[in-house]
Subunit: 328 residues, 5 copies
């Protein structure tokens, strides 16, 4: 689908103009044109983009999905790639969705190209459509609005991850299981994926906020700087979360070993208690003691009571020995 918005000062907003008029429309330096390609086949998009005079390499990059945020300065237009990110917990793993938004930004026009509907673009579109004042601030301001919407979608994801970590942390200390480990690993991957998107995107915004471009008004840079600050913070949060997840994993190992320790203590206490006793009963169960045998003096009543005493005193003395070794 191709949709377009065209604003000329003093005139009502025009919509969905024929693509063949675009080159003519952007001649008017006062006007602002926004063209949005949604899931349009390359055969259709390519000739229209060529009409704008974009470099073939830039058009190629826009039509192919590459998922790497970048910013190329081609003089009278910028070619920008931003990423849309969605992570949803799904059982033990997370569903990861990363899409690309290609933007050509000229002095008085902006061309956006994406394969799937992106809510950040739609919301900006609605806002511009509703009130033309949002368009008259220029094409770079539309870019700012889109980028701002895109980035503000990241925070809830981070919060979801944060909650997931807290939950896992709880499990690690109380009931470390196999599933905990899988969840932990899935979180690690999500954070890594997120980081790979944020870092180049931060760089793009940093350049928009700092460098001198023909198509960006100097006084609008402060807005991109705002988004940049936001991304810096996101990156810091991401790093912190990665640190915490790493810490949780180390703790998991310690916790599992700790529990094994407990288990082994129980096993050892029981074995140490009963093995000698079982031997003792076995000893007196040997056929040497057969009543008809010639060892009658071993099966008299006093011997029996002495054995009984040993059987009671041995565990008691061992209990104190375990105590001293801090096993009980």
């Amino acid at each position: 689908m191709i949709r377009s918005l065209y604003y000329v000062p003093g005139q009502p907003l025009q919509k969905d103009l024929p693509p063949e008029n675009f080159p003519k429309l952007i001649q008017n330096e006062e006007a602002v044109l926004w063209v949005d390609f949604i899931n349009e086949p390359p055969e259709v998009s390519q000739p229209i983009l060529e009409e704008f005079g974009f470099h073939p390499l830039a058009i190629d990059d826009a039509l192919q999905e590459t998922h790497v945020p970048r910013l190329d300065d081609w003089g009278d237009y910028l070619y920008i790639v931003l990423n849309y990110m969605n992570f949803e917990p799904n059982g033990k793993t997370w569903e990861t969705e990363v899409d690309e938004l290609d933007i050509f930004l000229g002095k008085n026009y902006i061309v956006t190209h994406h394969d799937y509907p992106i809510s950040a673009v739609d919301e900006t579109w609605v806002v511009c459509d509703r009130d033309e004042r949002n368009v008259q601030e220029g094409a770079d301001h539309i870019l700012y609005r889109i980028a701002d919407h895109l980035m503000s979608n990241y925070m809830p994801v981070v919060e979801k991850i944060d909650e997931a970590i807290d939950e896992i942390e709880d499990q690690v200390f109380n009931r470390p299981s196999h599933g905990t480990l899988e969840k932990l690993f899935a979180l690690k991957r999500v954070l890594l994926a997120m980081r790979r998107i944020i870092i180049p995107q931060r760089e793009v915004l940093n350049r928009l906020a700092r460098d001198d471009y023909q198509v960006i008004d100097r006084k609008d840079r402060v807005f991109f700087r705002d988004i940049y600050d936001h991304l810096v913070r996101l990156h810091d949060l991401n790093e912190s979360l990665r640190d915490i997840v790493g810490g949780v994993q180390d703790t998991y190992l310690s916790s599992v070993n700790n529990r094994m320790n407990e288990i082994m203590k129980t096993l050892t206490v029981i074995t140490v208690l009963f093995m000698p006793l079982t031997f003792l009963t076995g000893y007196f169960g040997m056929n040497f003691f057969e009543p008809l045998g010639n060892l009658k003096e071993w099966t008299t009543t006093p011997v029996f009571y002495i054995t009984l005493a040993v059987i009671f005193l041995l565990p008691i003395s061992m209990f104190f020995w375990f105590r001293r070794r801090t096993w009980l």
Copy 2:
């Protein structure tokens, strides 16, 4: 609550002036005005801040809590965000409290905005109120005093953490338990949180100490440099403590494994001692040896004494074998 202090050279200090007068008051370049907003709703603060002529973006940032120290230079005023930090041990975890102090610093005025009472601000307020000489050094000096108070609250926290680490270290070597692990992990998180506050704050102070701002007297920079040095040291301490906590956790794992080793040794020694003996008694307990059977020669007295000897010598020889393997 809104409170204000107004100093004009040669006049007594005025307090709690009506907010609508603020714009007029700061016209007087000799005067110093300090306005402090404490937990004031945005509807009240916003128009007053707008009267000062601050940029809408800066006001927005001040009214929203973002918890990220920063410094924006808007020409004739600075917008500064500092953080107030409080960490209290609370059983196995730590209670973490991080709040934000927003500051607008002009040539001859300072506006502070915070949602909760902050002792550093209150103490500075009392000092300024008591003796007007503390105000006459200018608005940037008031900023210095507040920042100095804020930062000097960090040291006791670090000391508390240090003590907590020492205590845990002790536990790790002597009685590693599940609780130790939780405390260790809580410490890790506290140090991480602290680091996230100190680093950007250090950057803010560094810029105050080094860069040229209209609203800060060149010769006052040395004071901010002092706080900066303090933060550098805090950061180094924090890094050291993080290193130590990391080391303690590694040691914990080794210590737990070590104890498990001890436990397993005991288990193995006991098992290795008694299993053969129990088998031996079982062997002679088999019904083949029944006195009425045809194996009389196996139940004679010499056989019994040989068995007895084996039962005594086996443990003794094993004891020496364990010794050689350094198990006992």
Copy 3:
């Protein structure tokens, strides 16, 4: 084997010219010459290369295999080393193949030297042979085509590694075995080897894209920049995969310990259940209880039923005790 392509504007493409003519041919500044040495012995290559006037050190480097991508600027020619990489999974390990492509790039000629046939070179050769327009863009464009082909061979390798990681991840969570560990380690080595190739190569392309060389047309730099971006992305992917492999290895250890925990629990539960019972049966198996003995009151029917009850109730009460300790 030595093959050559010679293009003079307006003339048909000439092929396989005698090596002794090369110095003369490159006098024509309009022409483009490509000479390709495939597995040619040094004795043959050296004099021909010397005829081009290349520095002895550069020729030495070209004739010796060193496998380190680099770029030396010798003024009117560049000496470039690129690497060809192939990794194939082979059971638990990977077959690693790294070869070197030496390139001398002059204003109007390119000399390539390699010991094994390289598909990237062959493909470019075919393309240039088929259509002379591919040659007329100049020697630097031929370099771009070769480099582009080389680099696009890396992506499938990364994908193969990615799949291998997913497979191993699965094994780690479900059936961690000794083979998993070996595969994991092999992957680690492959990623490390790959990284060692990509980093210097990226640096070479970065310099081609950024620096000013006599032999590279300024407007062709954008093509090298494209390959550079590709390598940057590859490097990022490589780093991510390394992170993931590291994470998988940590998880492996935790997973193995986790399984050991399960095993130990079973062992302990069984031992704790049956040791006391076995002792009990042993106790009543002692010869003190011989029917002919003087302890008749211990072998009456009620005693037997009490024992039976203990034997049933002990496991049941232990079951609940295990439950409470979250062992079952």
Copy 4:
């Protein structure tokens, strides 16, 4: 205690002059004055230091112990903080002693202030006292001598640590015990503490060697550069030792697990050998086999010898099975 040395060219060295004369003495630009405060209460030191005209902040820093090496350039004097370090092994832990030496260096005077006697200062004092040529090279040369002495005390500490590591390494491979772990951790802390002292001190010396200061002769910089090189090397050594200690700790864990492996093998071999045998003897000990019962055919001599054979062959076949699994 306050002591002073005063040198005027052509005159004998004067000692312990009255503090009130100091300001007058340093008027003579040819002369060299060294004042040394040892454990002098602030009430005494402060007025004297103020007489020199030092900035109140610098005096404050000197009188308070802060233990952080630094260098402040106040124009016609430098304020320098250096650290004195002593680490002594003390059982399993190390005794750590870090003290501060505050120095004010002017064009023709040097003021040193410390709370405890420092041998490096005393040795320099003796050397200057003995031969006035050591003083006539100027105040910056006295600073060099003191710093040189201070730093040369570090090397023996590093060597002691190195020896301690070698000893621990030995223990880890041969008799890893709980004490080893404690010693290892103590070493880690010592190295961390040392690092925290060396890094800022290195920075101070680097600045003395590189930057331009009014009070330091350009041609004397080479001496500070010498100490700086020494500190760089110390830092490298420290990093290496930290790496090695880290490696030893990893090895400790592996070593403990390795030993546990050995122990478990013994346990398992014994259990696997005797459990079936014990069952066998138990089986034939059941009362079904009672000679008076109706199962006489189970207690004949051939059955007994078959059982005997099983009891001998089972361990032998298991021995070979263990062998194949590399357990024995």
Copy 5:
């Protein structure tokens, strides 16, 4: 031993000239002098070096062994320290030998000083001695030859380490033992020691290749650049090997735990199988079942066969249960 080579254009090479002539000889700017001190006591070397006019600090550094590669520019001469390295596997550890080569490089002379014969120096000496053309290229070229020889001795060491790693890797996967761990740790130390030599040496060569020195011909820099590239590659290799050794150690721990897992499985399977059976036999071995007792109905033939069936079916059903838990 002191040996010297003196070359004057057009004259035959002179050897072993009297040391007292050196200062006069180097007056001739056309000539090239090489003096080599081998294990000469400081009393002899010092006055000769002083005759050259070297700075006392540089001479001190040359006469003392410090083992840290460095480069000091003293204007008309350079003071350079290079390292000679030899590592030999020796059982489980490696023999480490690091020696120092001190070089003074002037415009037309080179002075080398070392405590032990160094093959790289000897080989260069022989080459210069054999053919005076090798000397006439100047003193800096002699330095290049020595450095080149020194560095080319490193590669075989790296290869030996590489082989050692491969061997250990094999052991880790197949027969992890205590010795493996010691070898691994020794390798780690060797790589660390090597790194400590390569890094500063690389820096020295980098400066020789890049910076402007009076005594080094601009066009000879390319040779030092060649050695520098070699060292960069060595450093990369070293880092890779360190990474691999680190990976092997992690794998060792996992492998040991894995094997322990196997052992525990065997132990648990055997225990779980035989404990209930032993209890069963014990139960029927109790004296309640005495044929003369009043529980005859428990010792009838059907009961015996039921017991026999249980004894056979229990292991079989457990076998399937273990299967499902992937223990067998």
